[in-house]
């Protein structure tokens, strides 16, 4: 009896243990939710700004952009409700004329998924710019896919026919070849593969040159105001 009492004194009841853990969990949950809520607007804005900046970077001479979506066999201006997949970005010049597309692609790199955005001029069938949106490639090696300016410059004037090909550094001879990175061959090839896959995916979905969706004024205003995520007026229903 006495030993039992002693052990009862030493050992708090399991209810008490569970309660103290539950209480700590509750407090922790509240703190985590508040920090999540507090930082969410900044984080979303950062991501939207990064993407918008990237679109303007990969498409030269572009002053406004709008989201385009492939829907029911036709590329149209993205409606508010549309899902994020199958979305690309149309870039337009100062007169509102169509310049080119910014297409996002993703695929496995050396360590984790690489997200790439590239600018494409359909009339000339050329890639004119490339930005890495997200990657966890080895710092100092794989991250040269966005830090090595010589590699990035490969994509400034790159023919897409028949297919982009990574070749050993310094041996680029054809307009569709790019100089790879010494020591980061896998990452460089991953970028090329991602772009090729995204291009194959979009090849038949893009309208013939000249028939691109027109720039809607709402989106130009939204882009100017810095609300990259705001979609233009809903596309006409069908």
């Amino acid at each position: 009896m006495t030993t039992e009492q002693q052990s009862l004194e030493q050992e708090p009841s399991s209810t008490k243990l569970a309660l103290s853990l539950a209480f700590a969990g509750l407090i922790s949950g509240i703190i985590i939710i508040s920090i999540f809520e507090a930082t969410l607007p900044t984080i979303t804005a950062n991501k939207a700004r990064e993407l918008r900046e990237a679109v303007f970077k990969v498409l030269p001479n572009v002053t406004s952009m709008q989201k385009l979506q492939f829907d029911n066999g036709k590329l149209r201006v993205r409606s508010e409700k549309g899902a994020d997949e199958d979305t690309i970005y149309g870039g337009y010049g100062s007169q509102g004329q169509f310049v080119g597309y910014a297409v996002e692609g993703a695929g496995p790199g050396f360590q984790d998924t690489i997200r790439v955005l590239y600018g494409y001029l359909p009339e000339q069938r050329k890639i004119v710019g490339m930005e890495i949106l997200e990657s966890r490639e080895t710092p100092g090696l794989g991250d040269k896919i966005f830090k090595d300016m010589a590699f990035v410059a490969n994509f400034a004037d790159l023919s897409v026919d028949p297919k982009i090909k990574a070749v050993k550094k310094g041996t680029k001879s054809a307009p569709y070849e790019i100089d790879s990175i010494t020591g980061a061959t896998i990452s460089a090839k991953a970028v090329v593969r991602i772009i090729n896959e995204a291009r194959a995916h979009w090849e038949d979905r893009l309208p013939a040159p000249g028939n691109e969706p027109k720039l809607e004024l709402v989106s130009k205003k939204a882009a100017d105001e810095g609300k990259g995520d705001t979609s233009p007026t809903p596309a006409p229903g069908n």
Binding site: E11, P12, K16, L17, S20, L21, A24, G25, I27, S28, I31, I32, I35, F36, A38, T39, T42, I43, N46, E50, D112, E134, R136, T138, P139, G140, L141, G183
Partner: protein, 218 residues
């Protein structure tokens, strides 16, 4: 419980983390972030500061509530406290410095699993007053930052020829690529540990000689 900063024992609690009880060089704790994110000086520094925030916050809380925390579930409670601080710093970095957050990637959430932090709660914060616990946490994280930074700068200088992204040697330098990869981390850490132990041993031998000389004279 406020303590006087000039209190010599408080200063001692802080200083011991820098050299005598350095978490990395002496206790060999927290090796995962140590090896993983030290391939450049700036990453090492950011990781060190994030760890400092988590360790100081958790130590203060654990020490403040040490009498309310039931012994049987203390480890789980410590982890809950640590994980909360880690989540806070994770989102804060993502919002304020997205570029650095991108570089550190998965290693910020992994601060939870840094045994140095849990070790300090169990070994120190749970037994001392808040003031001492905070001083100890500051000292330990400062020691951790020094260690991370030492490794990070050596690896960046040799592996990339730069420090904080600034080129040091010009085009003629051929980077030792291996230093940036995991083996480089192990090699550098091994050499630094070797140096550290060598210094400690020499110091001990010197003290022994001094004592012996005094005894001989006396």
């Amino acid at each position: 419980m406020a303590i006087n900063i000039k209190d010599p024992s408080a200063i001692q609690e802080m200083m011991k983390g820098l050299w005598r009880d350095n978490p990395v060089f002496v206790q060999v704790l927290g090796m995962c972030p140590m090896l993983a994110v030290t391939n450049s000086a700036i990453n090492a520094l950011a990781m060190g500061i994030a760890t400092l925030f988590v360790l100081v916050g958790s130590s203060a809380l654990v020490s403040a509530f040490k009498n309310l925390i039931p012994k049987q579930v203390r480890i789980s409670l410590y982890i809950v406290i640590i994980a909360t601080f880690v989540t806070v710093i994770d989102y804060t970095l993502l919002a304020l410095v997205p570029a650095i957050h991108k570089e550190l990637g998965a290693f910020i959430p992994l601060i939870v699993a840094n045994c140095m932090i849990l070790g300090r709660q169990e070994a120190f914060a749970a037994k001392h007053s808040v003031g001492f616990a905070v001083m100890d946490a500051i000292g330990m994280s400062a020691g951790f930052v020094i260690a991370l930074f030492a490794l990070g700068s050596v690896r960046e200088i040799l592996g990339n020829g730069s420090l904080f992204g600034i080129d040091l040697f010009g085009a003629g330098f051929e980077p030792w690529v291996i230093m940036i990869l995991p083996p480089g981390g192990f090699i550098t850490l091994g050499l630094i540990l070797l140096f550290f132990n060598w210094v400690t041993e020499r110091k001990a031998r010197f003290l022994e000689q001094v004592v012996a000389a005094e005894q001989a004279r006396g």
